[in-house]
């Protein structure tokens, strides 16, 4: 990997200062830096100044507020989240599945939600990108993965987002005109070039995760190895079952098969109001399969990843059937 390009490092101590700095040309935001730094070393996008949040106070830690909502500061490390028993188990599990122990000690919750979309044509050093014609995300005019359209298909690669969406979590964004809260689901848009529905000078400061008694939730991640790897498919499922084991609510989210996490609403519909059993699960798995359109731009083949969607959905739901 190349060395970092010449770059200015700013370490503001207040959010206001950070927001102002972000308004300058070529500013990029850094939390743990575990995604940003390699991307900069590969010259994936130009950057003049890295605005680090590390000295901004109040962005770290987990607390449960009076409403029973778990509030996680954006700079809380993944390792902290993975080890905090107040955090819903499914979210701890997802945090524990990110990358490797070293990266989880450095990487943050906010950083994982904002992790850049990935594509194996893009995530290589500049030299090798030059060897192919630069793609859209590298500042070029075309896409190597699906050359027919001028669309970037880089893959949403966050492990936390599908789970956060399944848990109906919200994020707080602070910008020049103040703070706003939006569902995590609305943080993303289907665009590999620019996946985040937030302004460049808005900073994700906190995640609020409601605690729902009786919710059954799980996250399954497909990757080649038991550690280190990004997801090449993630399934977050959260359901409620009533005493008759009828599914009264379901949220099913697919990660890493598109440029944004995908709510599998048809799959949810196949579950809600029906007895929770193999028939409903099979219908949900099939609906999820139809939704997923992985392309050939991550590890393993796109066909294989699509084949794994119903398998993983079924396994996730079967896991929730217990007790």
């Amino acid at each position: 990997m190349l060395r970092l390009p010449p770059i200015r490092h700013a370490a503001p101590t207040t959010l206001e200062e950070a927001i102002t700095l972000l308004q300058s040309e070529g500013a990029v935001l850094a939390a743990g830096g575990t995604d940003l730094i390699p991307n900069l070393k590969r010259r994936q996008h130009p950057a003049d100044v890295v605005v680090s949040l590390r000295r901004v106070g109040g962005l770290r830690g987990v607390r449960v507020d009076a409403n029973g909502t778990v509030r996680i500061g954006a700079l809380t490390t993944l390792a902290t989240v993975a080890g905090d028993s107040r955090v819903p188990a499914v979210l701890r599990e997802a945090a524990r599945s990110v990358a490797s122990p070293q990266i989880r000690n450095q990487g943050t919750v906010g950083g994982n939600l904002c992790v850049d979309t990935r594509c194996d044509w893009l995530n290589v050093p500049d030299t090798w990108r030059q060897a192919a014609e630069p793609c859209l995300k590298a500042g070029g005019e075309m896409c190597w993965v699906a050359p027919a359209k001028k669309v970037c298909w880089a893959v949403s690669s966050t492990d936390l987002a599908p789970v956060m969406i399944a848990l109906r979590a919200e994020v707080q964004l602070v910008g020049p005109v103040g703070a706003r809260s939006i569902p995590v689901e609305d943080l993303y848009r289907m665009d590999g070039l620019d996946q985040l529905a937030k302004a460049a000078d808005e900073i994700l400061t906190e995640v609020a995760v409601p605690l729902e008694p009786g919710l059954r939730a799980t996250y399954l991640k497909l990757r080649r190895r038991g550690s280190v790897d990004f997801p090449i498919l993630g399934i977050a499922a959260a359901i409620h079952l009533d005493d008759a084991r009828t599914c009264t609510a379901a949220r099913l989210v697919l990660g890493a098969v598109a440029s944004a996490p995908l709510r599998a609403t048809h799959a949810e519909d196949a579950l809600i109001g029906r007895p929770f059993g193999s028939e409903a699960v099979a219908a949900a798995a099939e609906a999820a399969r139809l939704l997923a359109r992985p392309l050939q731009n991550t590890d393993l083949t796109s066909r294989y990843r699509k084949r794994m969607v119903p398998v993983f959905v079924r396994r996730a739901l079967d896991e929730l059937a217990g007790d």
Binding site: R224, R225, L300, T301
Partner: protein
Amino acid sequence: MTLDPHIGIVGRAAPRVDALAQATGNLRYVDDLSFPGMLHGKILRSTQAHARIATIDVSAAEALPGVHAVLTGRDLPVAFGLLPVSQDEHALALGKVRHVGDPVAAVAGSDPDIAQRAIELIEVEYEPLPIITTIAEAIEVVDEPLHGEGPANNRHREVSLDFGDVDAGFAVADHIREDVFFYEGSNHAALEAHGAVALVEEDGRLHLFSATQVPHYLHRIAAEVLDVPAARIRVTATPTGGGFGGKTDVFSHELVAAHLARVTGHPVKLVLTREEVFYAHRGRHPVLMWVKTGFSDDGRITAMWFKTFVDGGAYGSYGAASLLYTGQLQTATYRIPAYRFQGVRVFTNKPACGPKRGHGTPQPRFGLEVHLDKAAEDLGLDPVAIRERNLVEPFTTTVNHLRITSCGLAECIERVVESSRFRHKHRNLPAGQGVGFAVGAYMSGAAVPIYFNDMPQSEVVLKADRGGGVTVYSMAADCGQGSTTMLATVVGEVLGLEPSELALVTADTDLTPIDLGSYSSRVTFMAGNAALEASRKLADLVVTAVADQLEVDPDTVSLGKGAVRAGDREIPWPEAVRIAEAKWGPLVTTGTFRPAKGIVGDYKGAGVGPSPAYSYSACVAAVDCDPETGFVTVDHVWLAHDVGRSINPLLVQGQIEGSVHMALGEVLMEEQAFRGGLHNGPSLLDYKIPTVLEMPQVESILVESIDPEGPFGAKEVGQGPLLPVIPAVVNALHDALGIRVDEVPLRPDKVLAALQGLARNGTARYGPATIPGYPFRSPLPVEPPPNGTRA
């Protein structure tokens, strides 16, 4: 005088002599070197897979402040290549580039950022040429071959040999089976990237430090390419953070760093990035292969015909030898009375392949061992029985003229089958679980050096000083295998000194006598024997001097625990050394090793395969396969290895475990694969190597056959244990799910494809269907040796 191994230093499980320095970060790797005024080198690499270089404009780079020199191909125009038959590389491209990553120009800048900016300022205008990336394309005639003039095909080397009457062997067979296999390429992926530091010393001589396994070959080639007498160059091999064969070639960056140091007058450091390591490569060749074997009804091999298609990448490198290795060691494990081997190595517009742990033999070993597993099933034999029926016997000569000496293969099989309870488990485990079995053999050093010469292959010098210190001088380069520890152990055993007390000067062309390098698993056998000889001579000098002084018979004098003893008298080693120096003068002894005469056949190609001794391994792997995801998990590996004698069992075990890890990477996930000329994932994130979580329990079983010519009976362990693991896992997958994946790595999608075939039409196989209809030359008939294999 008593010199046999009962002092107990040989055979003792002890940490490496440099373990503490490694573990504490004190070992100085090449990237740790720094000199006043040092510049930083950087290489501009081709972005084209195949192109003519129309123009190179370096003026902007030269004008950048802080840039001291810019080089292009014309500055180092001498062609080179590690093998005398393949002089097809240049330090920097001359006229043409042949793969993405081919070195084109180089700079020396006052810091790494300036060097990086400078190469970005070099303008290269390419005229793209059609690219060749597959074996099938490479055997076709094209207008623009990679090397030479067209129209021509891209054949690099071809071999076609007949040992014994192959047609007759097939004619008497009761059962004949054919199979086609493919083995994907892989990179060594040593943790340490390649690097070199060069400087001109005060006396005007060039000093080149490099993370290399072959300081001698680097010395020779640097002298030629730089056009400097070898006597004016000193090469120091720095401790390497892993080699695995990846540092046995001579690389552009070494020659470029040296030349930059000469033209700038400053020390120059040039360390590759991980991506550059993947593009410099020299790793495992992708091999497409076909094997046909005739068997008698009771499973005896009557004849074998092996064809290999070897994808060499853009340059020769070790490829002429690699090609022969894909055919030569099949006979080292099995009695094959008649054997035909045909192979072709082709050039493609991808980084050059070369030697990686097992050099050219893991691919055919995979094919052969899976093929035998299938044949056993055809014949109603168990997989162990079919091997036992064909086992090579100790002290015989194979049909292709390999001299086999000690052979513990039968014991390896027995012990690994026993401890894994293979016979209870095979075909008896629940669906999804399986066990597989395979064997392998490897050389303890190539009998024939890379360039023809009559000199010893290893020499060791020992010097004892008046303080009792003993210094061992050897050019053996420790590439992580522990060669320095091996030398210290052998010398320590003979002199009765603790290995940690010895001074070790290694891998430096100014200071140490020859060792050809850390490749072909040669160092323990060859440098070990040289060290043994030098030690015995030194022991003899000390013992005779002491005996003389004490007026006793030298036969009553013994060495051990830092002292010389005669009866009840004990003289501390330093005192004994002073007595000896008083008698003999300087206490300097030498030892040499040359392979025994007459162990190399006399046909063209006979130079590859012969070794003074062969190691043997047998492996059982237990897997768990998820039929829905196609993921194969290896739960347990049992590996028995005939190492001759364990000079240090801890290091032997380490080599076995490391081999298992590397083998699992190759069989399960690693792929040095390309789209067009571009590497699929030139990073340690995208190139999948098993993590600690994928590493199963490994049961290492050490078998000691005590080779008559090995030092204390020792043979190799660095490469051989990798070989059987790959087919054992593939065979275990068959046992688990009833499918055959005739292609590695066993990616989950391939497993699912085979399962799908099984469900659809009963074809439980994934793999290549055929081999190209390549017109091999008619085989050169080679007479089997007179005392050859008994049919």
